[in-house]
């Protein structure tokens, strides 16, 4: 039974890219990639965080995506909310206009990318991003961030964090295609974005975001792998 399940899982893993590729060819002449993260389905396994680091060779102690843990309530009535974070691929990104050499830009398909050949590593975009989604890579001397695993996307595969999400909390696809999983989620569920007041028009949507962000003083503790330690609100 276990072997059967295992073989089917392996088969599914092999099939997924092919199916996704076919879907892209069939559906999207002009794709616009977005991600929806359903917090009600996130189990806090960190496989997105780990798989991203492995897929993209992210240096130790740096992250392209990470999971924040928000622990609310007092014993015994305690619950945990997991908040996966990544670049929001904003429509009005703060990071793009500040780059002194134009090394970061937004592609037509909605992905904000870094030109690693042009980036001088000044870090201005890191400072400008209100989501803390960028970091200065000490190994390459340039700034780095999530690019939705562009190399996988061009091969017709989904980003590593999506394919490795065991709870199916990360839903990725073309918002221009009404049949895509993201379009269906966006049209059927109430979604919200992080910090809309920044005016950045982020394009990573969350289901069930309120519980992770509406925290009063002393109501919760936060564990963030980027910050280290436990922070009490």
């Amino acid at each position: 039974m276990v072997e059967l399940a295992e073989s089917r899982f392996i088969k599914l893993q092999e099939e997924l890219p092919r199916l996704f590729n076919r879907w892209i060819e069939k559906k999207s002449a002009n794709p616009r990639w977005v991600m929806v993260i359903d917090l009600t389905r996130c189990v806090g396994c960190y496989s997105c965080q780990a798989s991203c680091k492995m897929e993209n060779g992210v240096p130790y102690e740096y992250f392209r995506t990470h999971v924040e843990v928000i622990e609310r309530g007092t014993y015994p009535n305690v619950r945990r909310v997991f908040l996966p974070r990544l670049c929001n691929h904003c429509d009005n990104p703060s990071c793009v206009p500040v780059c002194p050499v134009g090394a970061t830009y937004k592609r037509e398909d909605g992905i904000v990318v870094v030109d690693y050949e042009r980036c001088i590593g000044c870090g201005y975009c890191v400072q400008a991003c209100p989501y803390g989604a960028r970091y200065s890579n000490p190994e390459t001397g340039t700034v780095d961030k999530c690019d939705y695993c562009l190399h996988k996307l061009s091969d017709g595969e989904v980003p590593a964090c999506v394919s490795n999400c065991m709870g199916g909390a990360r839903i990725f696809g073309d918002v221009n295609d009404p049949e895509s999983p993201v379009s269906k989620v966006l049209s059927s569920k109430a979604v919200a974005t992080l910090k809309p007041e920044t005016g950045n028009d982020p394009r990573v949507y969350y289901v069930g975001l309120e519980e992770a962000t509406k925290i009063g003083p002393g109501e919760a503790i936060v564990i963030n792998p980027k910050v280290g330690g436990v922070i009490r609100t």
């Binding site: 206009p97 500040v98 209100p130 000490p138 910090k195 992770a212 003083p217």
Partner: protein, 345 residues
């Protein structure tokens, strides 16, 4: 992992760029505003501006992740980026100050001398204000950092630039004139004292009002900021920047008697320079010490400067030594500053 991306090296840059702009403005006051008494040290101020201007980009380049691509800022400047202005402003400022020095040293007897120097000074004053202001704009336009995001920063950067430039001119004027056994002109020093006092007053008012306004921010924002001001930056903000580098010099320099003893003026100049450096430090480092652990959940971290390594005390000291060497070299290869003094006497 939590670390400061813009560390002590980035703090040194606006300190130097401010001094360059401030010293340059002091140097052209006799030309543009007929402040003849300032002629005494106008060429010295120009040489200080020049040496500081050349030194200013050194910490910037060393801080870059890919310093070998530093030239990209000249090749691919993006017009929307305040940082991209650096390349053009720096080059124009350097050309103007170098040309002015050359004209003063070797072409001061020509018929076109005065008109050319005036024209260069008109362009130069605009460039120098932009050069010190654009750095403030880099921080003032960054909405992700609560401490930076304010329109006061570019203005106070220009004001503190003039203060620091004038203070250094005053300090080196007293020092070099004493070493060279020249007579210190009290009238010139008094004029400089007034410039410093008024600009410092405006600077302190702007920075203090900014601080007071911040105390009225929502509790979630003010709480980490108060921790920043009273814990992490307690000494450098309240102590060095506001009291030692602001209020004390304002009280002392209010009285004309303060310049009767050049030692007091020198001491006040040192305090002012320390205060301006602390301002750069508190803004740049302090702004990064407040971090977001989760949306709308803020915490603070600490920053300690090392001895070795990038941005360590040895690095900073080396940059200051390069500046001192360049200034000494400038005083030797452009000797007109001494001649001017004798003519003035």
């Amino acid at each position: 992992m939590t670390e400061i991306l813009w560390g002590s090296l980035i703090t040194v840059y606006p300190f130097f760029s401010g001094i360059a702009a401030g010293a340059y403005i002091v140097s052209i006051l006799p030309v543009l505003f007929k402040r003849e008494e300032l002629k005494e040290f106008s060429l010295l101020a120009l040489l200080i501006a020049w040496a500081t201007l050349i030194t200013a980009p050194i910490p910037l380049v060393f801080h870059l992740g890919s310093p070998w691509r530093a030239g990209n800022i000249f090749i691919f400047p993006q017009s929307t980026s305040p940082m991209a202005l650096f390349g053009y402003l720096w080059i124009i400022f350097l050309i103007i100050s170098t040309t002015t020095i050359i004209i003063y040293n070797w072409f001061s007897n020509t018929a076109w001398f005065r008109s050319t120097v005036t024209a260069l000074s008109v362009i130069g004053i605009v460039i120098s204000i932009l050069f010190s202001g654009y750095v403030g704009f880099i921080f003032g336009s960054t909405k992700s950092k609560e401490l930076w995001y304010t329109p006061i920063v570019p203005i106070s950067f220009v004001l503190s630039a003039i203060v620091s430039g004038a203070a250094l001119v005053g300090l080196l004027y007293i020092l070099i004139w004493r070493i060279s056994r020249l007579r210190i002109d009290i009238q010139a020093l008094n004029s400089l004292r007034k410039i410093i006092w008024w600009t410092l007053l405006l600077d302190v008012v702007f920075v203090s009002s900014e601080f007071i306004v911040k105390t009225y921010h929502p509790a979630a924002v003010w709480r980490p900021l108060s921790e920043l001001f009273f814990r992490h930056l307690g000494l450098s903000y309240l102590g060095i920047q506001l009291i030692i580098g602001g209020i004390i010099p304002l009280i002392v320099l209010l009285f004309k008697k303060s310049i009767s003893s050049p030692s007091i003026m020198s001491l006040m100049s040192i305090l002012i320079l320390a205060g301006v450096f602390a301002y750069r430090w508190n803004l740049i480092i302090g702004g990064q010490l407040v971090i977001e652990a989760s949306p709308y959940v803020y915490t603070t971290i600490s920053y300690v400067v090392g001895l070795l390594g990038e941005g360590g005390i040895l690095w900073i000291t080396s940059i200051f030594l390069v500046w001192a060497f360049l200034l000494s070299l400038a005083l030797v290869i452009f000797p007109r500053w001494k001649v001017e003094v004798k003519l003035h006497d």
